[in-house]
């Protein structure tokens, strides 16, 4: 089984994790509804390195992962912070 490294718990089977979507800047509270709709419903979905939210389900621990969408290779995982590989969140 594919293994993912949880920053809190260490290497675990990928079945213990759930995907939480792209890491993207949250619009301001007073932003245009179009900006909020874009944030909530539109996905980037382009090949390349993506910065994503993932959760380790047994501990409900949210963290960030950088994943190459062309190869499905997980490049890095870390507690919520700025990207490690220079990818744009």
């Amino acid at each position: 089984m594919k293994i993912m490294n949880c920053p809190l718990n260490g290497p675990r089977n990928i079945s213990e994790f759930a995907y939480g979507g792209d890491v993207r800047p949250v619009p301001n509270d007073d932003a245009d509804p179009k900006a909020w709709a874009d944030y909530l419903y539109m996905k980037t979905n382009q090949p390349g390195i993506a910065v994503e939210w993932w959760i380790h389900v047994p501990t409900s621990y949210w963290f960030m992962a950088e994943r190459d969408l062309r190869t499905d290779e997980i490049l890095a995982t870390y507690p919520p912070k700025l990207p490690a590989t220079g990818a744009t969140p």
Partner: protein
């Protein structure tokens, strides 16, 4: 045995089916004896679900617990034995699970529960664990071989130190596994969603069959 305690195990039905004798312990009923039990089997499964336990979570919880004399584990996923026999498990930097002493003494958890009030504890929040989680106890020489069938984490004694914690999936159920040896007998606490307790119990019964596992009562639990 007749009992006056209101608190009953989530596993009362399967334990009654195998003829468990119930006894009062810590204001609850616990399966004390199981007909035909073999407490020295290669895998021994016990139900401790009615035993005292509690939890605390939040940014101020380490300081709040330390102020009450609790010795905290230095990092997440480690546990520390307290002088009173209770076990403090650090599940995250600011989340703690406290298992009462195995002799059923609830003094440690009662003391913390009664000291906590929402107005005085800041960002330290009580996290009751006695109803949310079933508490199973697994021990024996083959217990790690049995775990290998149902858990992806290497829990063998050479890879998983005493008082280490794995928060992982056991029989496809999110669970907390804490190694807490009884003398030189490899022993693990397994806590998982109480609503799925019967499923987990049956999965463990099935997994331990090939190792001649035995369900045992609380009375045969060796002294720590």
């Amino acid at each position: 045995m007749a009992s006056s305690s209101l608190r009953r195990s989530f596993l009362r039905v399967p334990l009654n089916k195998i003829g468990a004798t119930w006894a009062d312990l810590a204001s609850a009923e616990i399966a004390a004896l199981i007909p035909g039990e073999n407490a020295s089997a290669p895998v021994v499964l016990r139900d401790l679900s009615t035993m005292p336990r509690t939890g605390f979570k939040g940014a101020d919880s380490p300081a709040w617990l330390e102020a009450r004399g609790v010795v905290l584990p230095p990092a997440p996923n480690l546990a520390t034995k307290q002088a009173d026999g209770s076990l403090v498990a650090r599940l995250a930097p600011a989340e703690f699970l406290i298992l009462g002493a195995l002799n059923g003494d609830s003094a440690a958890t009662d003391r913390l529960d009664s000291a906590w009030t929402i107005d005085s504890a800041g960002f330290c929040f009580q996290l009751p664990r006695r109803d949310s989680h079933a508490w199973l106890h697994l021990s024996g020489d083959k217990v790690t071989a049995m775990f290998a069938k149902i858990c992806g984490v290497d829990l063998r004694t050479k890879a998983f130190a005493n008082l280490a914690i794995a928060q992982t999936s056991v029989a496809r159920l999110s669970a907390i596994v804490i190694r807490d040896d009884l003398g030189n007998i490899p022993s693990y606490h397994l806590l998982a969603d109480s609503a799925s307790a019967i499923y987990l119990w049956e999965s463990l019964e099935d997994a331990m069959k090939e190792f001649s596992g035995s369900i045992a009562g609380y009375s045969s639990l060796p002294a720590p």
